[in-house]
Subunit: 465 residues, 2 copies
């Protein structure tokens, strides 16, 4: 009998007030308004470490949702991802008070130079001793483009073309620029780094020109664990090539299983072992020790949610209110109105605007949603692990830190009883080892990033067994 | 009688092995090789907080010193600022274990987009509760340019023109985009932010086009304390306009006094109260409890210093070895060879290459250098405060954490006895208050950054008394 999969859990977070549970900032037990405060992050990190979570997964946007009703009013009033702060900068603070918790940070390949980002991630990988992941996104907000000097978003497929070259530059810096034994710290001969083992990358591509060498010496993981969430064709092709962990959201169990199978097929086509990708489903879990507790929570969260907030968010740059309820999403996409690109990822073309509006902000949309006692929640999780084909979840927060606290106090013990949840951080020190097993600290050999590792080595080293 | 000036002290640091004391990484008591380790930074922060330092001042480069002897060999062998890591990312870790210590981070205006940097600094100002400063640089290494897609450095004066517009964009974001009372967190009416008090900046200049709004809500200081170290004409004009604290390095006491007077004149010409600028001299202090201790340290540090390391560093992109000893620095500048731009800042045109080579890496070059017992050191410091016109020092490290430890154990008590050093962090919570007095958390009214604060306010607010 094969061992039963254990659940991987990330807390789905963002350095802002209203991430995805819009309206709930008003709940008296919610701490979202404290996101500017370093103590908010230290407390959260200690809690997740206590619950042996894999990681905190930090989403990000670099613009404002200002399409809905023709301006940023709704986003601001409802605190829909604005105000927000940089996601990378809370990681060192959380790393200072943890030893096992991982950190996944979102960063876009579209607007900032790869050389500086490469050093930022290497710095984080050093400071966390190999506990970081990068969620690769290409950005979708029209306002984000205007914050970086452009008139409008870069075309969706074109963004992935840029992203692909961006990855190449990063792999060259992370994997190829410094050999493992470059830093020798030879005090007697006064040689800190052996210069013959550090290489310029001299990248000259269509979008980037980067000389190198990388400024950071090799960090524990070198390349951070690569996360991705693309669901468009271009996104999945990109992810099939690069992703090690994929964030799956919004579908039913059957849809998700099919999606995962298709995705693994993409990885196989890219020459990779498809088992080296883990799939994390976005999961809404409302748990209570009694049915009554559960019902109370569902009722509270439902009553407080902001439909306007969800509309402003879901449309990205788009204004839903400009369309009649029977307009098909596919027609809006065809018109390429501001914000249309996100629709490709979030909706099916045959859905209508009325459809979208009535479902918005609701909890039970056939996706990974469960409200129940620990037994019910654990049953659902086991079902998604075994029948849905997922490897873990990104736990959506209704309350901070309430949602994580409930999960740790009520769900984790039940999963542990069933052998479905780790007892401690026993599986290696780095995040990659946590996902793929002790000793697997670096990218696997079949990952395209490793191609650039060998390129700069002396021929005899490449050919050695 | 006016109160005697108290000394401001920053520790001069860099997220790397060899910052400016090249060769000393081999010293058995030196911890520089631990710079990748988060504990290195936590220990240092706790030590400086115990010594009530103003701040740790983090230098940075985004390229390699690869001009000397035609390649990066010397820089790598001697660990001259490579390997290095990002300076901003160690700040949150240090902030997690301190309450009073400030953090000054170097960032260049030449290669990365202002919108993203604005959010990074606001995030740091939030996480530290107003304890950050920004050391504005425009970068000088030819290799840095090649890491960001350019063939060679942007011309020196042109860089300052870009920097000036960069500052304008930042002020608009930091000072103008969000009014102080924009975030109201009105639970009853479900209004997080009053949208009428958040503004697009719609900047469209010669180099940048940025829509806004800023993504972060106002942080304690809004604009971080602005540090600068320009000594060229363009640099001083820039600093006279923008700087609140100026890093002065390399000159004699008399030169420094003259420099400071000239700088204050620039500030006056820019319409600012010249007293709102603080001057920090780069200071090399070797202190021991006995003369014998001092002599031993001087001897050790002198014996271990790497002349090659200093040559690779001081020339930036330049190769000193290509010139005869009687070549004038001014002639090299005139030829505009790679790396010439840094020479403008570091040397006088009439100096010869031979001059530079013989003095390199030496300690006593007429600048702020003192080796002695606590009494001798304190006398020197008092003299520089009173006769040199400085307000504080950037303490150069020979050993980490030895240099700071010695200063705290031996010099600080002596300065305190003389009323020249703070007893505790009594002077406000933010770094700007630490420099300019309790209550002065924001930019002063005569600073050009505040011009952009009023611009977006409603007319009745601007005109109100």
């Amino acid at each position: 009998m094969t061992e039963r999969k254990k659940l991987h859990v990330n807390l789905f977070e963002m350095n802002c007030v209203g991430h995805i549970s819009h309206g709930l900032w008003v709940h008296p037990d919610n701490n979202r308004h404290r996101f500017n405060d370093i103590e908010f992050w230290l407390e959260l990190a200690r809690l997740l470490e206590y619950g042996t979570f894999d990681a905190v997964f930090l989403a990000d946007v670099i613009g404002t949702y200002d399409g809905f009703r023709g301006g940023p009013q709704t986003a601001l009033t409802e605190a829909v991802q604005i105000p927000n702060n940089d996601p990378l900068l809370v990681i060192p603070a959380m790393a200072a008070v943890t030893r096992g918790l991982g950190f996944a940070a979102t960063f876009s390949t579209t607007y900032e130079p790869p050389f500086a980002f490469a050093r930022r991630m290497s710095t984080l990988d050093h400071l966390t001793r190999g506990r970081v992941a990068w969620n690769v996104v290409t950005s979708y907000l029209p306002n984000a483009a205007r914050n970086f000097g452009l008139e409008d978003e870069v075309d969706h497929d074109h963004r992935y073309e840029i992203a692909d070259e961006y990855m190449e530059v990063l792999y060259k810096l992370w994997e190829g620029s410094w050999e493992d034994d470059a830093v020798i710290q030879d005090v007697d001969n006064r040689v800190y780094t052996d210069p013959s083992k550090v290489h310029y990358i001299d990248h000259a591509g269509r979008y980037y020109k980067v000389a190198g060498p990388h400024l950071s010496q090799p960090s524990p993981q070198r390349t951070p664990v690569i996360y991705q969430a693309g669901s468009s064709a271009a996104g999945r092709a990109f992810g099939g090539k690069h992703a090690e962990a994929v964030f799956v959201g919004g579908g039913s169990l059957a849809d998700t299983r099919g999606y995962i199978e298709g995705y693994r097929e993409q990885a196989r086509a890219a020459g990779r072992d498809p088992r080296t990708i883990k799939f994390m489903a976005g999961a809404a879990v409302i748990v209570g020790s009694t049915e009554r507790d559960v019902a109370r929570k569902v009722e509270e969260f439902t009553a407080l949610r902001s439909v306007d907030g969800h509309l402003a968010h879901s449309g990205a740059g788009l204004d839903w209110t400009r369309y009649s309820p029977d307009t098909r999403v596919g027609d809006i996409i065809a018109r390429k109105v501001p914000g249309y690109q996100r629709l490709i990822r979030q909706y099916r073309p045959e859905q209508t605007v009325g459809d979208v509006l009535t479902r918005i902000g609701g909890f039970n949309r056939g996706q990974f949603f469960v409200a129940g006692t620990p037994k019910v929640v654990a049953d659902t999780i086991e079902n998604w692990l075994d029948e849905g084909g997922i490897d873990g979840i990104n736990l959506r927060q209704f309350l901070t830190p309430g949602t994580a606290q409930d999960f740790i106090e009520l769900v984790v013990p039940e999963l542990r009883r069933r052998g479905r949840y780790r007892e401690s951080y026993e599986d290696g020190e780095t995040l990659r080892e946590r996902l793929f097993g002790a000793g697997r600290t670096r990218l696997p050999e079949d990952h395209p990033g490793t191609r650039y590792a060998a390129r700069h080595r002396a021929p005899e080293q490449v050919e050695a067994p």
